[in-house]
């Protein structure tokens, strides 16, 4: 199976700082796979996403994207100038025009039906987030790239969001690359979790990651949900973590150390 995106030995520095934001990151995502990147604030999650999309210059390494890959992208932050009049309907037709039926269906799907004629800058944060998601679902994407897509969503909205992601994957076979802080849900909804802190601390199935010492070092044994969830369901697996295809990559017990 050929990867949709494959990155090897990725390093990225931002202008004006010597410390690289990402160091030697290897990453791949295959068709129909749901991969979630977790990590503390400032750990380089958004930078990784943008590097994979080709939006930032790399200091080293390379990224290979499948030719003609159709991507639906929801960035972490989208600012739209108030001076630019834009209805939701018109926004959905950028840059490729879509029919009214298609636009309406996408909005209904993300829980904001009938919003077409509203000005985009007059939406609430959660409504805007849903419209962004609706736009990302248009044009039959092969890969959804969602950077903290549930920010601003209400609790039922978050649950519905993860169900929607599952549905889309099941229906269209689209892969999903997500950045999320909803550890509890992430552990349930993802096929693979990548724990990032400038480099890949640990990665693997949710079970593997939530048991990894690197993950515990970052999120603490008291991190709500994830570990508890893991222990609750998978207590018996504890000793087999390494055998379960767990990542061989080890950085010592404290992942916070920069090196």
């Amino acid at each position: 199976m050929s990867a949709l995106i494959q990155a090897t030995d990725l390093s990225v520095s931002h202008a004006g700082s010597q410390m690289p934001v990402l160091r030697g990151v290897d990453f791949r995502i295959d068709p129909a796979e749901i991969v979630t990147v977790v990590g503390p604030n400032g750990s380089g999650k958004s930078t990784l996403v943008r590097a994979l999309l080709g939006h930032v210059d790399l200091t080293s390494g390379r990224v290979r994207r499948m030719a003609g890959l159709r991507i639906g992208y929801v960035p972490q932050r989208v600012h739209i100038e108030k001076a630019l009049p834009m209805t939701v309907r018109r926004f959905l037709s950028l840059p490729r025009r879509v029919g009214d039926a298609e636009a309406g269906a996408a909005l209904a799907r993300t829980g904001v039906p009938g919003l077409e004629s509203r000005q985009i800058t007059a939406l609430s944060g959660g409504q805007f987030q849903r419209v962004l998601l609706a736009r990302a679902l248009l044009n039959d994407p092969q890969l959804l790239v969602l950077d903290e897509p549930t920010q601003g969503l209400d609790q039922p909205g978050i649950v519905a969001f993860y169900e929607l992601i599952e549905d889309v994957r099941a229906e269209t076979g689209a892969a999903v690359l997500m950045v999320s802080h909803d550890l509890l849900v992430v552990m349930r909804a993802s096929d693979r979790v990548v724990c990032l802190n400038g480099h890949v601390c640990c990665e693997g199935t949710p079970q593997v990651v939530s048991a990894a010492p690197e993950y515990r070092a970052l999120f603490g044994a008291g991190s709500p949900g994830a570990l508890a969830l893991y222990q609750h369901h998978h207590d018996h697996d504890h000793d087999h973590v390494a055998d379960e295809g767990g990542h061989a990559h080890r950085h010592g017990p404290d992942c916070r150390h920069q090196h």
């Binding site: 202008a15 943008r50 999309l53 080709g54 939006h55 991507i71 992208y73 960035p75 989208v78 600012h79 739209i80 100038e81 001076a83 630019l84 009049p85 834009m86 209805t87 018109r90 926004f91 950028l94 840059p95 490729r96 025009r97 004629s117 000005q119 736009r135 790239v145």
Partner: protein, 261 residues
Amino acid sequence: MLDDFLTRAILAGLGLVLVTGALGSFVVWRRMAYFGDATAHATILGVALSFAFSAPLYLGTLGVALAVALIVAHLSARGQTVDTVLGVLAHGALALGLVAASFVPSLRSDLDAFLFGDILLVSRADLVWIWGGAALVLGLLVWRWQRLVTASVNEELAMAAGIDPARERLILSLALAIVVAIAIRIVGALLISAMLIIPAAAARGFARTPEQMAGSATAIGAISVLAGLGASFWLGTPAGPSVVAVSAVIYTFSLICYGKG
């Protein structure tokens, strides 16, 4: 009919607003006002150069405006503080142009015409340049409309859709340079920015989509040209300032009617 200078002036003005509506909307959306000023002020240097070398007027204004656009695009790509660079370029080029103009005796007396526009000076050749330039820029904007709007809405969303925002920005910069260069007869170097921004700002209040804003800005620009040139003709007021004054009045009404837009 083209022998009548008022007809020629009106045709010139309408040719100009054919593009200032749409282009001015981009200037407002992308906060390129200062960029427009820099390019426009620099065209005075172009006027001085074409007089000094007895070259066609528009060759000078076009050459200098395009050069400034490219310099600014280059500098801003290298992460310079664009505001400062634009300030230096805008006023440096204006000062240099005024100094250069003082060495050209034939220019000294009609410098005002190039700073503020003069309808009496619009010739048939001007009409060809103005309509040619306007048609070129309008064609460019229509051709790339979806890409330009997407890149103006949000650069990250544009990049993910395979659009290169830097390229779209450069295209708008070059389009702006062309419009500024051809506008010198009608509104002059000092007021072309106003001609771009004010009709678009007035249109913002009642527009719901980018297309509505561009269309309304074009209509407001056309009304301003007709009313302004009329005032210039019957009251003897300077052409450029009259046109801009009318659009400012329309802007004020739009504020009153539609709130703070």
